[in-house]
Amino acid sequence: MIKIKNLHANVEGTEILKGIDLEVNPGEIHAIMGPNGSGKSTLANVLAGHESYEVTEGEIIFENKNIVEMAPDERAREGLFLAFQYPIEIPGVSNSVFLKTAINEIRKHKGEEEISAKDFLALIREKAEVLGMDSSLISRSVNQGFSGGEKKRNEILQLLTLNPKLAILDETDSGLDIDALKIVAHGVNKFKNDNNAVILVTHYQRLLDYIIPDFVHVLYKGKIVKSGDKNLALELEERGYDWIIKEQPQAV
């Protein structure tokens, strides 16, 4: 699905990612954990192609194509989805116009026909129901006036309707109460099948009680310093990150 090789990236001249290697295969869920400032969100944004981040070295092979030079909208059409940590408000642009445009762009890319208004509505209704959302939100402006929890749910609604190959969830659990967390997890589990993959970027183990990862990686100072299975997350929950940091030769 995606193969990240020796990825280095800068923000405003400072190197944040210092050689990431990661391979995610169809059907897998990977969790990326790490203390604040370790580069987790940077990794998510670099994969999605944010222009503030400059890739200085390495490759990102997504579905057999190196996407490092690809524009963010092209990546999205190829099937890469990022659920934002802070979903942006876009005043005046309704969710329906926004989502329908996105669906049709992706369909066009695949050589499919545009979705009809009727099918679109049916699709939204179906997916909104999974998340216990009121489908009236479709006529509201994108994320505007949404509570934190609503914004996150809206991200998952987009995930379900766009149905990408790879979903990257950037701290989707942050700021959610336990009920909202369960709903979001339910949505992600609904999405998941043998042909797609999920990368969960998270600070806390909590989300992993509901979305069971196949692999857990610890990111520290721009590098993956430890990988394991779901038990690693539990261990981190119990012992914190210090013990891993201490294992690092360069740690101060």
Partner: protein, 485 residues
């Protein structure tokens, strides 16, 4: 909800022709006056139109006043001095005897209007819009006249109104915008050549949208049209105005006047999509659009609503205003002004609260790109006796590129302690984060920008009649194309 979806993404597509597409010239035989302005010319215009004596005198009075005043210079616009003696004050398509039906209209002219997308021929009008088309200086055809006449509605050219409904015109013309109001108003009052006239009798709801399309064709010609709309007690009318002009590399002057009178419980909705030629990318040519638009809510509970989408003209100078004289009267102003390349716009509104419990709303959205300057200038005045007046103003500016300017100049003059006046203004750029978010969902940057801009203007577009809203959004996309890389 389904309506939300209907308004749709179709709007964002189909803007491949980024150049001004109305810039063609119609090859038509024109009846023109020599250049220059003097009392003779004014008498000739008046005679040409078979006007009664009082009208000729009225024009001359305006002209004599005009000679005594100076061009205003307070607006944030710059242009070379206009040589008023080097302009032609009258041009009309030739062979224009009394038109009985559309069959008599020059086919070349009809073709022009077709190119402009104006459904001039009645049978083609499915949308139920009655159209008065003003070509250069004269009105060439008014559709649906007979249907409207059944309800007692008068919808005709102002020239015709001066002849046929002299008493009405005499009573109202200049009652809202006096001949002496300002420099351009005085000029218009002296030389106006045509325009539209609407009269809605008491208790009548105009069953269709009334519409005028203005087109400047002849070279070195100023266009000075004049519109007068009167809504008697308990009546309603919605009026649309559209305009285009050919591409020429000299500047052309357009100085129009619009007067609205709303009596008790009457409502007038006036919408404009202004798309005069804005000049080329280097700022050459384009229309100087110096317009005085004003409405008076004369009766209690009356309402006047201005909606404008301004994408054209090299210079726009216009402040559609409401005088809220009747108690409980309401004034509204919704505006989108887009400037690109070297365009300049200084536009806004005046809300003059005089009656009790009067209410006004101002929503202004300015978008600046290229090397343009876009200013909002608005006055909210609450008179001594206007108790419980309420105003809310929201003026937002969006900047695209670092060579343009966005300015906000509100004036609040409050003489009554029971007034509640709120003004808010913001300036921001098209957010990179917003574009990235849309990109991440597979939407290209160009489409993302259009989407964000349309979202930014939505409150205004919602106030336009459906077909106009679609047109306005397309215009926006065209005029901003290529502004964000």
């Amino acid at each position: 909800m389904s309506e939300e979806i209907r308004e749709d993404i179709k709007l964002i597509e189909d803007h491949t022709s980024q150049e001004y597409k109305y810039g063609f010239v119609t090859d038509i035989e024109e009846d023109e006056f020599p250049k220059g302005l003097n009392e003779d010319i004014i008498r000739k215009i008046s005679a040409k139109k078979n006007e009664p004596e009082w009208m000729t005198e009225w024009r001359l009075k305006a002209y004599r006043h005009w000679l005594t005043i100076k061009e205003p210079n307070w607006a944030k616009i710059h242009h070379e001095k206009i040589d008023y003696q080097n302009l032609r004050y009258y041009a009309a398509p030739k062979k224009k005897p009394e038109l009985e039906s559309l069959d008599q209209v020059d086919p070349e002219l009809l073709a022009t209007f077709e190119k402009l997308g104006i459904p001039l021929e009645e049978q083609k009008i499915l949308s139920g819009v009655a159209v008065d088309a003003v070509f250069d200086s004269v009105s060439v055809a008014t559709t649906f006249k007979s249907t409207l006449a059944e309800k007692g509605i008068i919808f005709c050219s102002i020239s015709e109104a001066i002849r046929e409904h002299s008493e009405l015109v005499k009573k109202y013309m200049g009652s809202v915008v006096p001949q002496t109001d300002n420099y351009f108003a005085a000029l218009n009052s002296a030389v106006f050549s045509d325009g539209s006239f609407v009269y809605i009798p008491k208790g009548v709801r105009c069953p269709m949208e009334l519409s005028t399309y203005f087109r400047i064709n002849a070279m070195d010609t100023g266009q000075f049209e004049r519109t007068l709309i009167i809504a008697e007690d308990d009546s309603y009318v919605s009026y649309l105005e559209g305009c285009t002009a050919p591409m020429r590399d000299t500047n052309q002057l357009h100085a129009a006047i619009v007067e609205l009178v709303a009596h008790e419980n009457a409502e007038i909705k006036y919408s404009t999509v202004q798309n005069w030629f804005p000049g080329d990318k280097q700022g050459k040519g384009g229309i100087y659009n110096f317009v005085t638009k004003r409405g008076i809510c004369k009766g209690n509970n009356s309402k006047i609503s201005w909606t404008q989408v301004e994408t054209g003209s090299s210079i726009t100078w216009k402040y559609p205003s409401c005088i809220l004289q009747g108690d409980n009267s309401v004034g509204e102003f919704y505006s989108v002004a887009v400037t690109n390349n070297y365009q300049q716009a200084d536009t806004g509104t005046k809300m003059i609260h005089l009656g009790k419990n009067t209410k006004s709303t101002i929503i202004s959205k300015g978008i600046s790109a290229g090397r343009s300057n876009n200013s909002y200038r608005g006055l909210v005045k609450v008179g001594k006796n206007a108790s419980n007046a309420r105003n809310f103003s929201q003026c937002d500016s969006m900047l695209m590129g670092d060579q343009c300017g966005a300015h906000t100049f509100p004036y609040l003059e409050i003489d009554n302690s029971s007034a509640t006046v709120e003004h808010e203004a913001t300036t921001s750029k098209v957010g990179e984060d917003q574009i990235f978010y849309l990109n991440q969902r597979g939407i290209s940057t160009e489409d993302a920008v259009n989407m964000i801009v349309n979202g930014f203007c939505k409150e205004v577009f919602n106030n336009l009649p459906m077909e106009f809203a679609v047109e306005a959004q397309k215009l926006l996309a065209i005029s901003l194309e290529g502004s964000v890389g």
